[in-house]
Symmetry: C2
């Protein structure tokens, strides 16, 4: 009988292993995709693309056992060569090739030059060709950084005693209500796609006190904007035993501090590639919703049209205000009007027109909505009744309050928006691998 005992050491080496030194003059095997071939006559530079980065290889006629004419860009190869120091090469070394073995060949030439530093094409084309346009090193660096944000979220909240959960995406009733719900037939029953894990994460606070979920969120929004997606990734947490809704903002600030440090340490290469300066997050100003509107109105000489809502232009100006006055890219806007928040939001006992809630703006765009939730059964029933809503279908949710819930609150962060702002992208589609919008269901 044969047994599998785990991962074996491979013959091939990675960029990191070579860059760590001690390999100069040695013959190594490396695999990768042929990113570009620059034929100079007797010598050619072959750039290999690996997950870790680009690697310069030198082909020399007579020294490399291979006919260069047989090599295609985007072929997958395994090459053998001698490591040599070369300060002009991307990693400070190059590989003087002795052998090339083609593992797999493309059938056609790429429809866009992904080896260009910046993809010189429209967003539409880039998205339509996403399966290959992502091979561009700058494109893929964005999503590597996005990975880092998710790692930061999970890793930090683990240190804070949170438990990770996975809650259903096919549900019987939407959490937020409203029209932006995708509907489907579930074996003859009416079902919807989860607009948020809101009800479930609250249920789980009764179980683990503090929970996180990272998962898809579905919104059937009918508007096409640069900041909306119909499917996005929610970074959600919910925590029990809070003293006030400031605990939630403090936890988010902790997450941002941890994550920026993680990115700086482990995603340095990608940040450099994209020329990103990380924002300061040592302290984040907080301002009341009504106060924020006033400040902006005064400073930028703008009329307050609707005291109960923030227009996108106002968000941008609030962002500008706090950048100018406090050099902060972030600002917590607190105490949103009750009318603009879902029924489960805790009203401010000092003034029930407002709630103990907040948005976090990052460079003038909302990337988080959070707040304290109602934990008292009767208070929740009263608010549902006052809004003229039905409790029908909400029994599993209401159950947790009926049988006891601690004071709690939480938030949801839009991962793609946070990434978009961090990378100074102008369209949220740039920071979703395969974005879904009103017109785009593919790839």
């Amino acid at each position: 009988m044969e047994f599998i005992t785990g991962v074996k050491q491979k013959e091939t080496v990675g960029i990191k292993q070579i860059a760590e030194g001690g390999m100069v003059g040695k013959t190594v095997k490396v695999n990768g995709a042929v990113h570009t071939i620059r034929d100079m006559g007797e010598v050619a530079f072959i750039i290999l693309r690996k997950s870790e980065g680009l690697m310069q290889c030198v082909y020399e006629e007579g020294k490399t056992e291979f006919d260069l004419k047989e090599l295609k860009e985007e072929a997958a190869v395994e090459v053998e060569g001698v490591v040599a120091l070369e300060e002009r090469a991307p990693q400070g070394f190059e590989l003087r090739l002795t052998k090339i073995r083609v593992l797999s060949e493309p059938a056609e030439v790429l429809p866009l030059a992904i080896s260009k530093w910046k993809l010189n094409t429209s967003l539409e084309t880039k998205l339509s060709l996403r399966p290959v346009s992502l091979r561009n090193v700058r494109e893929r660096a964005k999503f590597k950084i996005q990975e880092g944000i998710v790692r930061g979220f999970r890793d930090y909240l683990f240190t804070q005693g949170f438990t990770e959960v996975r809650t259903p995406k096919i549900t019987a009733k939407g959490a937020e209500g409203g029209a932006n719900i995708f509907k489907l037939d579930y074996f003859g029953k009416k079902a919807v796609l989860a607009q948020s894990p809101q009800f479930y994460k609250q249920m789980m606070v009764g179980v683990y006190d503090r929970v996180i979920e990272v998962g898809p969120v579905f919104r059937a929004e009918k508007h096409n904007t640069t900041r909306h997606l119909n499917e996005y990734t929610g970074l959600d947490f919910e925590m029990g035993y809070i003293d006030s809704f400031e605990d939630i903002m403090a936890m988010e600030t902790g997450f941002l501090q941890y994550t920026m440090a993680l990115l700086e340490k482990e995603y340095e290469k990608e940040l450099k590639l994209l020329d990103i300066t990380l924002p300061k997050v040592n302290e984040i100003p907080q301002v009341r919703f009504d106060k924020a509107k006033e400040l902006v109105s005064e400073k930028y000489n703008r009329k307050i049209r609707n005291p109960y809502d923030l227009e996108p232009e106002e968000e941008i100006l609030i962002g500008r205000y706090f950048k100018e006055e406090f050099d902060s890219d972030f600002v917590f806007v607190t105490h949103y009007p009750s009318k603009k928040r879902p029924f489960y939001a805790m009203d401010d006992p000092a003034d029930s027109r407002f709630t103990l809630s907040f948005d976090l703006l990052f460079k003038g765009m909302e990337i988080t909505t959070g707040g304290q939730r109602i934990h008292d059964y009767q208070m929740l029933l009263d608010k549902i009744a006052a809004r003229g809503m039905e409790t029908e279908g909400m029994e599993p949710y209401l159950m947790i309050f009926k049988y006891g819930m601690p004071p709690h609150g939480g938030l949801g962060i839009g991962l793609e928006r946070l990434t978009m702002r961090l990378l100074d992208e102008q369209n949220v589609r740039e920071t979703a691998l395969f974005p879904r919008d009103l017109n785009r269901l593919e790839p």
Copy 2:
């Protein structure tokens, strides 16, 4: 202006802080849910339920400033008391209460005794009351272990150079085809819920070489069994530059080894609570599909009815065989018949009736399907044609092969099934927080 600077030290302490010592005789504040109240007259034992475990508190009339009659089970409280050693208490200490502050009260008494060691109720009732039945310490321990499995998956594969991605769940076409697809209307277009991230994770191999995804998977299976869910969590990975499909099995074995070690170290409390012995994973036998059928047929005197399929009973017997003969809970069954595998599976060049693929059986149940994929464009087109399939709608997927893909393969693990087998549960619904089946869409 006020600023949020991060998480402040709380006044309350956790079980771990107290258990670490140095607090005996000191007065501490602790919060939690009132799990049980055992009133002995002048003294009462109040068990607090915290995320970390149960904590014994002693109420004494005259010494504790509170009227015990006012205290309800499932109330959220903050208590103050003096730490005292007490070896009969769950954590080796107890809290002699001086104060009790009620943070929140339930409106009604729980519909089932969640403080019982084992919930004495049917699975149906348990599931219907899931938002509160999960508060049972054994129930919640299961999902804590499930968290550990997911952590193990991600953490191990990060060490192996994988990148985590998030791919869309609303898509234009199903990956596996077939009838088990949930359909929905997407702004007037026909859309489906992803049956697997298969196509997308293959696309991402061209970008990052090695990728993982942990996310929901939707299957509109019309059968109600103890091992099927209509929404489950897929632990998926896909890796490029493989030398053979054994690389994939080796990687999975590495994941299992890492994860069992992680569970042993960081989830010891939960394993003990559920009385779980972790399986040995130092080596996992591999056997060909046809050979496995033969072995089982001979040993258990069973006729081979269909040489091209494994019946669930056969899976159980294969599991039994490898337990008896090799003391292994796991077995890789390799070289599944081509007819039973999707079009993208790589046929065995030595015998194209079979594929370079495998299932991993755990205690006689399939928990993983994986294998090498076709990476050559023409080979893929030929196989699609040979199966009488259409390429229409598959262009974004086919694009990656047209423009070059390395040899690659991967797998998908059913998280709930893996958890089910690890915990020796008899129904996969036991290991999904909020299971979805033919009849169950709530809670």
